[in-house]
């Protein structure tokens, strides 16, 4: 059972079940009020509960950059979306130097600078992952470059980007030390904060619990002070992150540790990279039976925003429809009731049982040096599971033959042969970059064997 604290604000919807535990569909309409805000207890910032993630930006001609890595970002569309967001009360925008193949900060800067500086909060990060950026000069230069791209003199929320992950022969702490301690950068950032160029200093976390615990110990000891921390949280990771992968940390632990210290929590991956919006029919049905007109994604967003220690929930809203839907979700937030919480934990368990590959399509593994399109392969495989198209059972049966065809033809049309799983040589270079700790080479092999098995039935 989740331990999420239910906010004490008024619940707007009708009861979802009566005393006989029957489900009664609720006639709910969200988005009739104002955007919900949370207050940062340290700085007094009044931050919209919905934050705009600027990683998955729209490209010209539709789709997104994963499908067409060299296309131009659609600046006009981004401008339109940011205008709408600001108009409807969204005031937190999260970016990073490495997002969108390095273009995100620039695009965000152009869009935001059309509005008064004090109408929004900018969050960006120090993304010095590559060893070539570990030197003091290089890291400093990255920060300065961020300010210039974002067309601002100061950053409201600055994060040490994605700490906790190790590398080749390096633990998570080794990596952290190389990126921020040995080069004196963490201390330098503290200085920047004192100079007013950074308003809130924090970090985002993916990886070893030891690193997270160490950061909080330093916070307790007064060695460093964290103004906020960004964690991956959603109704699947709440209790089951380490069931998806034993090396991952459950979100409930992360949240509790931060909340009891009064550190505001920023949420990323509320939809688990979009996968909680693409549920299989039997899960969707359960959600729609309760609230027929509520979009599937809204359940996840309501869950992510409910705990009172959450300052802002980030969503990478590529399309206008997503933005409009999420604005409605949080205008105002309808917190999750205990009964709904129980329901979502049950859904989470069913979701984890699907055994989809836990890829959030963040693209940090790309480019694969041998040409594979890793996120596309995983996406196709996962889609076949969630859409109920996995060939299973009797190979002679009509349904099996149909699913087999759909799988193979879909595979060929989404991923060119040269970039399919059969070409993975198992060099493992991608794995250290994966925030979800997916054993990518193993998964490639598994998928390749599956495909080969299907082909040989032809």
């Amino acid at each position: 059972m989740g331990g999420a604290a239910v906010a004490t604000s008024v619940v707007l919807s009708a009861c979802k079940s009566n005393n006989n535990n029957e489900i009664i569909p609720a006639n709910v309409i969200d988005g009739q009020g104002e955007m919900t805000y949370r207050v940062n207890p340290n700085s007094g910032d009044k931050v919209s509960l919905l934050g705009y993630g600027m990683m998955r930006l729209p490209i010209e001609g539709g789709a997104d950059l994963r499908q067409n890595p060299d296309a131009q970002v659609d600046q006009e569309m981004v401008n339109e979306e940011i205008d709408y967001a600001l108009e409807h009360g969204v005031n937190y925008f999260d970016t990073a130097p490495v997002y969108t193949r390095g273009r995100s900060e620039g695009v965000t800067g152009i869009a935001l600078s059309r509005h008064p500086r004090n109408s929004y909060y900018i969050a960006t990060k120090l993304s010095n992952f590559s060893p070539s950026t570990w030197s003091t000069e290089a890291s400093k230069a990255m920060f300065e470059h961020s300010l210039s791209e974002l067309r601002t003199e100061y950053v409201d929320y600055l994060l040490l980007h994605s700490i906790g992950g190790g590398g080749k022969d390096m633990t998570g702490m080794d990596m952290f030390n190389a990126r921020f301690i040995e080069n004196g950068i963490l201390d330098w950032l503290v200085e920047q904060k004192e100079a007013g160029r950074i308003r809130n200093l924090g970090f985002s976390f993916h990886g070893e619990q030891e690193v997270f615990d160490t950061m909080l110990r330093w916070h307790d000891e007064g060695k460093y002070h964290w103004d906020f921390v960004q964690i991956q949280m959603n109704y699947a990771d709440w209790n089951y992150a380490n069931r998806i992968d034993p090396d991952n940390v459950n979100a409930n632990y992360l949240y509790e540790e931060l909340h009891r210290r009064g550190i505001p929590v920023v949420i990323m991956e509320p939809l688990l990279g979009g996968r909680l919006a693409k549920q299989p029919d039997f899960i969707v049905k359960q959600m729609k039976e309760r609230e027929p007109e509520t979009p599937v994604a809204r359940w996840a967003f309501r869950f992510a925003g409910t705990p009172e220690g959450v300052l802002v929930v980030l969503s990478g809203m590529t399309y206008m429809e997503h933005l409009m839907e999420n604005v409605a979700t949080y205008s105002p937030l309808r917190p999750i009731t205990p009964d709904e919480n129980e329901f979502l934990m049950k859904v989470a368990e069913e979701f984890v049982e699907l055994k989809t590959v836990p890829c959030t399509a963040c693209n940090y593994c790309m480019p694969c040096p041998y040409g594979l399109n890793i996120p596309a392969i995983f996406a196709h495989y996962n889609d076949c599971i969630t859409e109920g198209n996995m060939p299973a059972g009797n190979p002679e049966a009509e349904e099996y033959r149909r699913n087999r065809r759909a799988f193979l033809l879909g595979y060929d049309s989404k991923v060119p042969y040269e970039r399919q799983a059969s070409h993975c040589i198992g060099c493992h270079q991608c794995e250290e970059h994966c925030p979800q700790k997916i054993a990518i080479a193993n998964e490639m092999r598994r998928i390749d064997e599956f495909v080969e098995h299907l082909k040989q039935q032809g």
């Binding site: 480019p367 040096p369 040409g371 032809g458």
Partner: protein, 462 residues
């Protein structure tokens, strides 16, 4: 009416054969593959009774094969018809070019016996038609040149002189002419009704009618029915009379002598270090260099072809198997002794274990049909490791992609000492390798694979 019937059947046949080539990759051959198998030379090469049937038909009905079944013949009729639109009544009788026909036919038969392929390929009509059709969608320069030069020559000849090729060069035409001379059904003059106007002669695309003498050269008449349709006096009829008693034995089956030609060439070992893309976080697709085919010492021929020699002796270079191959493995060889005949290469795909298409469609038996089980038991080639290209040694990464995809388990990874490190390299068990090309195709080394297939001179099944 003979002409109308001929045209209807001819159009159907040429459409079927064209469709067969275009649709070969899509499985259409299971319905209309017979259209290739009733062609004369393929029937001869596959020792099929259909060859005898064609000869019997020629003995009974004359060279209707040439007007209906042979797609190259129908193609020439189209050109000839176009020529007729420009200038009507343009033909005139010529004497049979005996010396030319028989010489070419003799050369053809000798080459067939001794397996001198280029001559067979270039002269034989069905293969020519196949290459013409496929040249429009196969991207292959040599194929296109060969096909279009022939198309041009035939086009000009037909446009001006009707069935000139069929009656002076085509060896199939010459062979059938031996029998059509004595055909039961033939175009005959009714001397009483004939007014000697000469209209029939002027419209005979075989130039076989001597209107003055009132004779038809049955060795060249292709029974098209143009003359009977033209005649205003009802003086020409396609009928049978008393059979001629003179008989002649059919020419004996070509004696399959053995001569082999091995082409040797050096192996090009290109260094193939893969450029490592800068690991830029958050996206991008690495550029993939296209694979290039290595120079093979022995060409690889598909499983079912028994050996390169068998292939050479039986293949007309029609490109039907090339069209049908779903993995883009077969392509026409530019090697002189295997000119236009299929050879295998693995830059795009490999010869997948469950596929048996080429043997299913081949009309000459150059590639015999085999079962799925037989396929992975036929050793058509053997893999060779090229140490200098292997990414384990050049890029310092672990690989083994070849071993993982070998359908017969012929590759095993073993320890190897390299620069003070222990790495795993592939080794090939020669007795298990069937030469399917999975390793060559999936090897990450580009542009030249670090493991590639050499053909076996003779396929074996042990």
């Amino acid at each position: 009416m003979l002409k109308k019937l001929r045209i209807t059947l001819a159009v159907i046949m040429i459409l079927l054969v064209t469709a067969l080539f275009i649709g070969a990759g899509y499985g259409i051959s299971q319905w209309i593959g017979w259209a290739a198998k009733i062609q004369f030379l393929p029937a001869v090469l596959s020792l099929s009774l259909i060859a005898v049937a064609i000869i019997v038909v020629a003995l009974l009905f004359g060279r209707i094969y040439c007007s209906i079944v042979c797609p190259l013949g129908v193609m020439q009729d189209i050109y000839s018809w176009l020529g007729g639109k420009i200038k009507k009544n343009r033909f005139s009788y010529v004497k049979e070019h005996k010396w030319l026909r028989y010489t070419v036919c003799a050369i053809f038969v000798v080459c067939l016996i001794f397996g001198f392929t280029p001559v067979i390929t270039l002269l034989e009509p069905y293969g020519n038609f196949g290459r013409i059709v496929t040249s429009f969608y196969m991207r292959n320069v040599t194929l296109s040149i060969i096909a279009w030069v022939m198309m041009l020559i035939l086009g000009v000849l037909a446009f001006l002189y009707g069935r000139a090729y069929c009656n002076s060069i085509c060896p199939v035409g010459t062979i059938l002419s031996f029998f059509s001379r004595f055909s039961l059904f033939r175009v005959r003059f009714d001397q009483d009704k004939c007014k000697h106007c000469g209209l029939c002669e002027k419209n005979c695309k075989a130039r076989a009618i001597d209107a003055k003498a009132g004779t038809v050269d049955y060795s060249r008449c292709v029974v098209c029915g143009d003359c009977t349709a033209q005649c205003k006096f009802d003086a020409l009829h396609y009928t049978a009379k008393r059979p001629i008693s003179k008989t002649e034995t059919a020419s004996s089956e070509p004696d399959l002598g053995r001569r082999s030609f091995l082409v040797g060439s050096a192996i090009a070992a290109g260094t193939a270090a893969v450029a490592q893309a800068q690991m830029k976080v958050d996206g991008g697709l690495a550029v993939i260099t296209e694979k290039e085919a290595p120079k093979r010492q022995t060409l690889i021929t598909p499983p079912g072809s028994v050996s390169a020699r068998h292939m050479q002796k039986h293949c007309t270079g029609c490109q039907l198997c090339v069209s049908a191959c779903p993995n883009n493995v077969l392509r026409p060889s530019t090697d002189l002794m295997h000119f236009m005949q299929p050879t295998m290469s693995f830059e795009i795909g490999y010869c997948r274990p469950e596929c048996t298409r080429c043997g299913e469609v081949c009309p000459t038996g150059a590639i015999k049909p085999i079962t799925k089980e037989e396929k992975t038991a036929i050793h058509a080639g053997h893999a060779v490791w090229v140490k200098d290209n292997c990414v384990v040694l050049t890029d310092g990464v672990s690989c083994g992609n070849c071993q993982r995809h070998c359908p017969t388990g012929a590759i095993q990874m073993v320890e190897y000492q390299h620069n003070g490190q222990t790495v795993m390299i592939p080794t090939i068990n020669e007795s298990r390798c069937i030469g399917c090309g999975a390793c060559e195709n999936l090897c990450p080394s580009r542009p030249f694979s670090a493991i590639y297939v050499e053909g076996n001179v003779m396929h074996r099944m042990d």
